[in-house]
């Protein structure tokens, strides 16, 4: 499964970047030199120093500690959204192949409707109206990325479902579960793996956009997007303040895209269609 990832140089770099970010997110809270919420009124908007490697923000909180704490939240949020999208996309896609035309028509139109929705506005509206919390945000993002999973899974499963060897298996008495497990699943998994990597990047962008707007995870809880929003207000005092959170977001998203490309270009596999991440 993971071997094709390291076949190309960009795939290897992407995997390393993602592992580093994941480790930072996992152990970050213990590495952090300061409390991410602790305000130091003597050091406001300070530059890098021995005590504060990346300086402090507008109320004197340590930027490095906030970044580490924010990494955990941002990544966990994106992972949860992908998990929601995975379930909401893959299951209906497999059912649409099996359950007949009515279900197929409805699920296709519903997914088209999701794609038509102006993505970010809808995520903002849904999260805010349902109570403006992390869980609401993840549900909203998960629902909105589910068409990506749906399309990819359906495209992979449809040729299998109508293939002659599957017909033969059914005639030979294979149960639907066996068909799914033995024939459909091996074709669907590589496609879904590619989609998962690229949609993880996409949901990271959306989560960052939402937190940037103060939606989903609200201040003072640190997130990459939220820190960027604060930095933007003090741009004239710290013009390079937004650089580190922005670089973290970009590096992680780039790594996700790189992994998706490496998995897609893996030799010996039918090339799954590229998922266009619908992010605004």
């Amino acid at each position: 499964m993971l071997r094709p990832l390291f076949a190309s140089r960009s795939g290897t770099i992407s995997a390393v970047v993602l592992v580093v970010v994941a480790v930072l997110a996992a152990v970050g809270p213990w590495l952090a030199p300061h409390d991410p919420l602790l305000q130091d009124p003597r050091a406001i908007l300070a530059g890098p120093s021995a005590g504060h490697w990346l300086g402090t923000d507008n109320v004197g909180r340590d930027v490095l500690s906030r970044l580490l704490a924010g990494s955990t939240l941002s990544l966990v949020a994106a992972l949860e959204a992908v998990a929601v999208g995975l379930v909401l996309g893959v299951v209906p896609a497999l059912l649409s192949v099996r359950l007949g035309r009515v279900f197929e028509w409805f699920s296709l139109r519903l997914m088209e409707a999701f794609v038509t929705l102006p993505f970010l506005v809808f995520a903002v509206a849904m999260t805010a109206l349902l109570g403006n919390g992390l869980q609401q945000a993840m549900l909203a993002v998960g629902i909105l990325i589910s068409p990506g999973f749906y399309r990819v899974t359906r495209a992979a499963a449809l040729p299998v479902a109508t293939a002659q060897y599957v017909e033969a298996a059914v005639l030979a008495g294979a149960s639907p579960w066996t068909v799914l497990h033995r024939h459909v699943w091996p074709k669907v998994v590589p496609a879904v793996a590619v989609a998962t990597a690229s949609l993880l990047g996409a949901s990271l962008v959306i989560v960052s956009s939402l937190t940037f707007l103060g939606i989903g995870i609200t201040p003072p809880t640190p997130t990459w997007g939220g820190m960027l929003a604060t930095d933007l207000q003090y741009l004239f005092q710290r013009p390079f303040g937004p650089f580190v959170p922005a670089a973290l977001i970009v590096a992680t998203v780039w790594a996700c895209n790189g992994i998706a490309d490496a998995l897609r270009d893996a030799p010996g596999r039918p090339a799954p269609r590229k998922v266009t991440a619908h992010v605004g």
Binding site: R109, L110, E112, A113, F114, V115, T116, L117, P118, F119, L120, V121, F122, V124, A125, M126, T127, A128, L129, L130, G131, N132, P159, A163, Q164, G201, V205, S208, S209, F212, L213, I215, G225, L228, D231, L232, L235, F236, P239, F240, P242, A246, I249, V250, A251, V253, W254, N257, P270, T276, H278, V279, G280
Partner: protein
Amino acid sequence: MTVSVAGTGWGTAAAVADPARPRRSGPLGGAVRWLLRTVALTVPVFLFATFLTFLLGAVSGLSPAGLLLGDSATPADVARVRADLGLDRPVLVQYVDWLSHVLRGDLGSSWLNGVSVSSQIGDRLAISLSVAGFALVIAFVAGTLLGIGAAVWRGRLFDRAVTAFCSVVSALPPFVVAVALIVVFSVLVPLVPSAGYVPFSQDPGMWLALITLPAIALSLDAVADIARQLRTGLVSAYQENYVLGAVVRGFSPRRVLLVHVLRNGAGPALSVLGLRIPILVGGAVVTESIFGMSGFGRFAADGALRGDVPVVQGALVVAIVLVLVANLVVDTLLLRLRPAARRRT
């Protein structure tokens, strides 16, 4: 080995030779069929999307009673206000009622200040459309130029540069681009003001200066996507036999590109343009907040944060209609550009 004889090439052939459908029909028959197909696909999507929008308000459990009456309201008061507004009826009945007003252009009025949502959106739409429209122009022009350039000089430095640019840009969220643009063009090199909006009628130069940064921020991702799709489409069109035939007949490279390659290879890029439109419309919510513009995206976000359901629903409906209309335009262009696209869906 995964060679399957039955699977190669026959899937598309079956789609072409559909016996239930006449292969050839007159221009009028084609137009009617196109209209019917469009209606059959667009109307359900519109109904689903608006129903989701409406459901959002219903599921939220928010009601104007809470906003209007405050915390001291008794349950009886709340029930009375809800009954006055018809919120105690079944969701589907409310949806049909709401939709019938929407179709007549009445999006209701804000729960907070009672002002008509349609007129509020009308005031703000010009701002969002200026930015989104300009972003679309940038995406189209820059994406086309880069894509064609990369395909014509495939394998050369320009091609590799475009590929690298696309790879970097596709990892850049619009709001990061926006912040970077502000840092560079407003803080370090003060060329343009970092925020605000001036109507075109008031000061066209200032209007353009103010919408340029948000439009670039919004369009960069689309530029990369269109360039990449166009390059892929054109490169595969260049390998077709009819291109070889055209070259052999001695047509100029320009004529081969414009007449043969572009027409056949531009389809995927054009569909990407259609897919990008919801993103351009939706992206307004972030760019408008960064660049301090009071467009309709920000209007929707503020409304959502205040729990003003009609405002949110109205903004979403307008956005959905914009997206559907834009997709129709793209679909129509696609059909005119390449008759083969008719067989695709």
